[in-house]
Each structure stands twice: as C-alpha cells, then as structure tokens.
Symmetry: none
Subunit: 420 residues, 2 copies
C-alpha cells in the first residue's frame, strides 16, 4: 500500500516552520508497512490544493493531509475538501458538543467561529480530535482514502495513533516491512562504498535495498526490505548484516533497530558505562565542552559522568590539569604528550574509571605547515593504560569540532571494550 | 517569479531525516522576492523524479533540487537529470581536478568512484562546490531553470549563496529587498506580540512585513520590505526599529543585518568581550558543557575564553570549585548560594574578568515539589560583584538545556554592559 503526505500552509512555503509532521507520519506509516511515495507542501490556495489532491490520488492509496483546519480565514482546507468530494458541509452536533466542552473546561465562551468547527462534508468519517477543536476528516474517492488532520503536532499525532492507524489496520491486509541501520564511524562514505561493493551487489537478490546516510563523522547504512513473511524479512536482513560485519566490523559502533531511535555515539558510550557501572571524565580543549554537552544531553548522565574540564589556555592546562610546562615549549599543546597528560590527570582529578582528552586545531586560524587546521590528538586513559591517536579532519571549525567529538567518543567506546 | 523545491532521497520518505534544506532554501528565495509555490520530496527512483520534474516545470520558473548526488549507487539524480535533458554525461576535467585536490589535501587517494563525480550532462552550467566533491548542475528546459545541488546542508548552502543566487540576481531584473531582524530574549512570542501590537499595526503603511521567528529562548522579529529604491527601504526599516527599541529595548540582544548570519547570544557575548579585551570562564552543572561549546564554537574564542569546569557531582563542585559542603545539605546544589560560589570561584580559578555559573534540574528526573524539573539558577560574577537569578523552564531535558544556555548568556551580556 502506498501513501502520500500533503502539508498545507503558507508558513511552510515561506520557510517559517520546519515540517516535522511529515517526518513523524512517515515513520509511523513505515512501521505499518505502508510505503510513502511522495511528500508535498502547498499553499493555502484552492487551486494548488485540488491539483495536489489529484496528483496524490494518482499515486497513493492513502493521502495524509495536515494543516489548514484552523478557525481563521486563511485556513481553507475544509472548504476545499468539501468541494473536491462534491459534498456539502453539514453541522455535526457531536463535534459541536466536543468543541463546547473544550471551551467550558477552559472557562471560555463558545464563539460562532468555533461552532463552525462542527461543519464537516456530508458522508465523511469524522476523526475525533481529543486534544483540540478541529475535527479530522476521512473520505474516499475511487480507491484513494483522503485523511485530513490539523497541523498542530500533538493534536495530529493523537488522532493518527488513536483513530487513523487502527482503522487502516482493521480494514486492510498489509505487507510487512523491515529495516535495520548499521552505524559506522572512522571511514568516509565513498571508501565504505568501495569496501562493501561486492556485498552490496548481492543485496538485490534478497530484495534488500541499501541506503547510505552520511552525517559528520558517522555513516549510517540502512538495509530495508518488504514482503509477506515478517520473520523471513528479519532473517534476511540479519544474515546480510552478519556478512557485512565480517567486512567492516571495526567501523560499526551500533545499530538502529526497527521502530527505535538512532543511538548516537554518546548514547552508545553512556549505555556501555551504565551496564558496567563505570564512570568517565573529560578534558576538552579544541572541542570546548561539546563532548561534555553530548554526554550530559543523555538523560541519567549523572550515573556515568563525573565532569569535565575545558582548559582553553596553556596556563589552565598546566594549573588545572598539571600538564608539564615544558611540553608547550617543546611540542605544543596539540601533541601526544599533552593529551596523554590531560587524560591521565583529569581521570585522577574526578576519580573516574575512564577519561577522554582532546586537543587540536579547530580553525579557522592556528594551523601550521606541520600541524594544519584539523589536526586533532585524542587520548583515553584508565587506571591501567593510556592511549593516544592522531586524526586529521578538514578546515571548517564547526565540522572539525563535531568530527573530533564523534571520532573521540568512538575511541573511548573501543577502549572501554578493550578492542584497542 | 516562482520556484519549487524538490528533495530527492528515500531517507526523507521513510522519515529518517527531517528536511531542513527546504526551509533554508525557502527563506533565502523569499528574501529575494521569489515565491515558493510547491515543495515535494520523492524517492531515489527515476520515474518518480521525472514526474516530479515535469510537475515542477508546469508550475515554476526555478526548480531547486537537493539530494541524490552522492557517489554511491542509491544516488541517481545525476543520471536522471541527464536523461531528462537528453544530454549525455561527459567528464569535466575542472571538476575532476577539484575533486582530486580535495582528496590530496586530506592525504587520501582519488578513487574511480570519485573521479566519476566529474561527470556532468553536456551543456550544463556547473555550480562549483567549494565544500565537497559533488558538483551542482544548472540547466534550462523551455522557461524553467533546474538547479540540482547536493543534499549535504553546508555544501548546498555555500553553492546557493556563492553561485546560484548571484546568477539569478544577475540574469533577472529583481526588485530590491531589505530586511533586518531584531533578536530578543526574556519574553515569549505571545507576550511580545501583545506588547508591540500598536507598533505592528502601523507597519503595513510603510509596506513592511513583520515575521515572528521563535526559537528556544529567543524570539526573532524580522522586518522585510521590497521596492525599487534600496536606500528608502533601509531608511524605512531602520526608522521602525528605532521606534520598536523604545518599547522593548530591555529584551533586544542583537540584530541580524541583511545578508549576514544571525548572531547567536554566544556571538554577541564574544564580540562584547573582544571589544573590551576582557575574558570569561564558566562553571556548568545542568547545562553540562553546552554553554562552553557555544562560546568555543565562535572562531577566535581563545581571545576571550579561559575555560570551563563542568562539576557534575557535588564532590566535584566542592573539590574543584570549593563550594561549601554545608550548602548541599542545607539548600542543595540548585540554589543561589551554590551558583554564587561556583561563579566566584571559577572566575578566580581561571583569572577571568567575568564568569557565569549554571546549576539546575534539566530533567526528566530529579525534580521535587519545591524545585520542579526546569528550575535553574544562574550566577554572574566580576571582581566587584556577584549576582544570581532564578528561572523556571519546562519539563523537557533538551529544551531546558538550550533555554538555560540562552537565558544565562543574556544575563552575562547585561552584566558585562552593567545594565543589571
């Protein structure tokens, strides 16, 4: 079964708001095995909406429409909906009662404008809106179901989860979908593509599609497939991932399972430490607190994180973390010697099981011929061992910070696992 | 002039990534007076792409296409582009040289896959990609210009700003546009709207449009206008902003000038310190290094920033920043007493002119009846003075961290300016 998602509203087209409704609907439908074939955003304009309805009808079994259902004049979705279905608007007393109760609960008067929210096209199935006053509408034209919902995310979501998806499931016999995403760090998209080309070429035989989803310092590989046998889909994908592991195991730091959020490297490291009841501390120079903010962004961070020091000057590196002053004169703060001392001393200072230290040249200035912008030293330390690695990233400050953070967290992950 | 924005990629349709490219492009084109009539997202599938091209052609003068230009097999935009324009792909040696230099700079080998990035449809205008290896393509069919760009945001943005928009401006006779954005912190969108309503009502007379652009902890007010006389546009907008200042001066922390990036609160604070040749230090508990990462994200941070300590445990607050242990037992770490000591001691430790300390309950757990999740204490200190303020934000961890950072940085800004 195929679906199209249509967003109605001038505010989308002028770039005033980011369309997060479509992402959410797409995820929900995907989980149900409904394939999204198209997404579109159009203005609050009758001709544009009707054209979009016709286009969607030619492509999809279900058209999910959000937006344009407000009580204000610029919202014209309902009028257009009734015109498209050639169905007059009639007052639904059940909706009026719901709208009235909504206002009474909030101590407000029911206005004439709000009473009109009870108008729906004759013959439409009304989708109840428990969190708001604009009703949803479900109507069918030939073989395509059109479902119009408000644009307010928390109203729309409740209506889809409570009414729309159960109805779709009940009325249709849907094929299954399965996908799993492999998360990698330490290799670029094109190098990865070359490495796994022979494996990738075999995927089609099993009806598995592969997508490369690159982010800064992370490449995600999504394997997706669909068919009638749910267990077989999972088995096929899992088998291919096992084969893939034999090729690129060293780069894989995690997986995004079907229906779950993508774990970040900070999530993976946090989980690892939590499982082992261990803790970490950070000394960050060029990343300036970014790694610390990633780790503390994960709920429950205080269980595994003792703290960070961002010694942004040589003086602070010496005074707060006892880096030998001779190092600055001899090899500089961006050096193996410096990051090792930072890692060892920050670990002791916070009495943590592990520490991570990062010192580099984020740019745009500060680079030399010997140490160009993008040069970054990373060290990890435990009570038993200290290890340092050098990376060379690019020339963009923000990207260097993000790349450094991801690479450093993956070094820490491997260090905790004793795989380096 | 009308434009359509087309995003190509399965990852959009399965809801794996949020489409932020379209929002950005829409904003840029709007500012230029080009109206976006449609946005669509389609799969990496030839038939869908070609149908979308045809539909776009029937609606728009410019079609902006992003995505599907990677070197990997699932990216088919270029092949489809060449088919649509009936133009064979030929190797452009200039692009190959650029791609090669890109790899050499990073000490990597040019692979065959990457050489193929030099292929472009015969007759196309190549849009140079300074930040990546995939070239952009500009081709015209009848009266519609198709511009295909990579989906990586920072590559796409540079290409649009450096090549595409200047070319559009040059080749078309566009009216002048002027806009300036007023940046506020400390007041919500609706309270702001009520406060400035009488002023806002007068804007239409001068053909000035006002847009509210709320972010977490910041509301931006964009005044935009267009017409034949560039100087008059600027004069009108500047006059209105002077009037606005008399109403909401206390909330304004900066301005976004036409054609410039929006300064963040970190930018504003950094600039202020740089002008005064002064420095700052940070002690962050609930924000966990996020403010430090914002400050160090600004190029040249080492001139004004001495460092940060993230004491994530009470023990660390005591040992590293000498917070009296009695405070934890008596009033807790989220208290005026604690943030004041953190601010005073971190300033001394780093020998900085100013310091900022933040301690709060980010959530989701850790709240009490007396101190609910979202309670945040902020302190600022100089040699002469220490000041603490309490804020209560919401119940979402990520939002609380971002709100805390923005409010805290604005407190520091006012403190540096001696306006609090």
């Amino acid at each position: 079964m195929k679906a199209e998602i249509l967003t109605i509203g001038d505010e989308i087209l002028i770039g005033q708001i980011t369309n997060t409704n479509s992402v959410w609907i797409a995820q929900e439908l995907n989980l149900l095995g409904i394939k999204i074939v198209h997404m579109a955003s159009v203005a609050d304009d009758e001709a544009s909406i009707i054209r979009a309805f016709d286009d969607a009808k030619s492509r999809a079994d279900f058209v999910f429409i959000t937006g344009g259902l407000g009580a204000t004049k610029d919202d014209i979705t309902k009028k257009t909906f009734s015109k498209y279905f050639n169905a007059e608007l009639i007052l639904d007393e059940e909706i009026v009662k719901h709208v009235a109760s909504f206002f009474i609960k909030r101590g407000k008067e029911l206005t004439e404008i709000n009473r009109k929210q009870g108008l729906v096209p004759k013959g439409c199935f009304v989708v109840h809106n428990p969190n708001g006053t604009a009703p949803g509408m479900w109507m069918k034209k030939d073989n395509t179901v059109f479902i119009s919902l408000p644009g307010v995310p928390y109203e729309m979501k409740a209506m889809i989860l409570e009414t729309v998806l159960p109805k779709i499931k009940r009325e249709n016999n849907l094929p299954h979908i399965y996908h799993k995403t492999v998360l990698t760090n330490g290799i670029g998209e094109s190098a990865l593509a070359e490495l796994i080309e022979p494996w990738e070429d075999e995927l089609a035989k099993k009806n598995i599609k592969l997508a490369y989803l690159p982010q800064l310092g992370v490449v995600r590989l999504r394997l997706s497939t669909l068919g009638p046998n749910k267990d077989l889909l999972k088995k096929n994908v899992d088998e291919e991932i096992e084969k893939l592991k034999t090729i690129i195991d060293t780069y894989i730091f995690g997986y995004e399972n079907y229906g779950e959020e993508t774990p970040s490297l900070a999530d993976v490291v946090s989980k690892l430490l939590r499982e082992r009841k261990q803790t970490m501390a950070l000394a960050e120079s060029c990343t300036g607190g970014y790694v610390s903010s990633l780790i503390t962004g994960v709920a429950g961070a205080s269980d595994i994180f003792k703290g960070a020091i961002v010694p942004y000057t040589n003086k602070a590196k010496h005074e707060l973390l006892q880096v030998d002053e001779a190092i600055f004169a001899n090899v500089g703060a961006v050096s193996e010697e410096c990051v090792k001392q930072l890692a060892e001393n920050v670990r002791k200072k916070f009495d943590a099981d592990f520490s991570l230290a990062i010192s580099g040249i984020a740019g745009p200035t500060g680079g030399t011929a010997e140490k160009p912008v993008g040069t970054v030293w990373v060290a990890v330390a435990s009570k038993e061992k200290t290890l340092a690695l050098k990376f060379i990233f690019g020339d963009n400050r923000q990207r260097n910070i993000i790349m450094s953070a991801n690479y450093a967290l993956n070094v820490l992950r491997k260090f905790i696992l004793k795989s380096i």
